[in-house]
């Protein structure tokens, strides 16, 4: 590879090699940049989760949790569909809490107050996970984070939820 003729400057062969590498890099960039950006586009695209969905009247909800199912329009690329989602909602002491029933451990559906071991807890039957009545995970059980929470809004006596639940810190 190294055929420097007299030790100073660069040889013709080296110059040609560098020029080859330069133009080669240019062509590779020209071809691959659009393709790579194209490939990773979903990762960089901001998903719009704006908007609210109505789930019922505020008066329907009492201090005990109630499971409601509601439909959300989902845009998956070119495919739009209505997906069914659900939330545990309670209205206690004038504060409305809407929790996603998806267990933070492995994504099973949690149930309210069905385990005799711990009454008034969310119970995940898959791996015996527990969350307390505020949806905070009980230490020592599999889940490592509290249940996700929907943003709530009250409008004309109707309860609106955000389209996607947000994770909460804590525990």
């Amino acid at each position: 590879m190294s055929d420097k003729e007299n030790g100073q400057g660069m040889s013709r062969r080296q110059f040609l090699t560098y020029t080859l590498m330069g133009t080669g890099a240019f062509m590779a960039a020209g071809i691959l940049t659009p393709m790579l950006r194209f490939a990773v586009d979903p990762a960089l695209k901001r998903t719009s989760s704006a908007g609210k969905v109505e789930v019922g009247k505020v008066d329907d909800f009492g201090p005990d949790y109630k499971l409601v199912k509601f439909k959300v329009k989902i845009k998956d690329g070119w495919h739009e569909e209505e997906a069914e989602k659900s939330a545990y909602i309670r209205n206690k002491d004038g504060k409305i809490l809407a929790l996603s029933p998806i267990c933070k451990h492995l994504g099973c559906q949690v149930q309210w107050n069905t385990s005799p071991d711990r009454p008034n807890h969310f119970y995940c039957p898959c791996h015996n996970g527990f969350y307390d009545e505020n949806g905070i995970n009980v230490p020592g059980t599999p889940p490592q984070a509290p249940l996700d929470e929907y943003e709530v809004e009250v409008k004309d006596g109707k309860l609106l939820l955000s389209l996607t639940p947000k994770p909460r810190g804590g525990a």
Partner: protein, 223 residues
């Protein structure tokens, strides 16, 4: 660093001869556009290969979004072209490249023909080249259907009927291409498979033979 890796590999595999054969072979003056401008006609083969590489790459990336299903094919193409970043360019590369590769291959074939380069001892490579041409046309035909727009549907309808006009076996070919009695979901799925797996496989194999033969036999001499 690279030198050490290279030496380590070379000690074990003696890879020097492999690449030196490619790198050091002498290129005669009569094919070198730097010496005779008219020698640019010898570039068409290389450009065909270059665009083929672009076709393979852009095709691989397109399948990240494309869905070969009659309900979604059109929507996915529309989506990847209009909503995905650089979609216009990546689909454009594949769409226009398909035409360009045919043009380049055509010019390359004409160059070989008019310089009589297919004559003994290079007959086999000419035959391989003709088969490559045929495979490329097949890729063009099967790829045309995939966006599932009006043009694709009706042009394929005609193409399939032409195949069906072959005496005796025509109807069987037609059913095989359609994957059933109607041009529909099954046709799209099998055209996709042929376009993406079968023909490219054949193409790569033939290209390998094409390049090995030209390396073994060298380029034909000046006229």
């Amino acid at each position: 660093m690279f030198r050490r890796i290279y030496q380590w590999l070379d000690e074990r595999l003696n890879i020097g001869p492999l690449w030196r054969d490619l790198a050091d072979h002498e290129v005669p003056e009569h094919v070198n556009p730097a010496h005779h401008f008219s020698a640019f006609v010898y570039c068409f083969g290389g450009l065909t290969f270059f665009i083929t590489v672009i076709q393979i790459l852009s095709g691989m990336f397109l399948t990240m979004y494309y869905v070969p299903d009659i309900l979604n094919a059109y929507q996915s193409v529309k989506y990847l072209q209009n909503e995905v970043a650089f979609g216009v360019i990546v689909r454009g590369m594949h769409h226009w490249g398909a035409s360009l590769v045919i043009v380049m291959m055509f010019l390359h074939t004409l160059r070989v023909f008019f310089t009589g380069a297919y004559k003994s001892p290079r007959e086999m490579n000419w035959v391989v080249g003709m088969l490559l041409f045929f495979v490329m046309l097949g890729l063009g035909f099967t790829g045309y259907l995939l966006p599932w727009d009006q043009k694709a549907y009706w042009a394929t309808q005609v193409g399939v009927k032409i195949a069906g006009s072959v005496p005796l076996i025509g109807p069987y070919i037609e059913t095989f291409l359609k994957g059933g009695d109607v041009l529909g979901a099954q046709t799209l799925a099998r055209f996709f498979a042929i376009h993406v797996f079968f023909l490219p496989g054949v193409l790569l194999a033939l290209m390998g033979v094409h390049f090995i033969l030209i390396r073994r036999q060298g380029i034909s001499g000046p006229l």
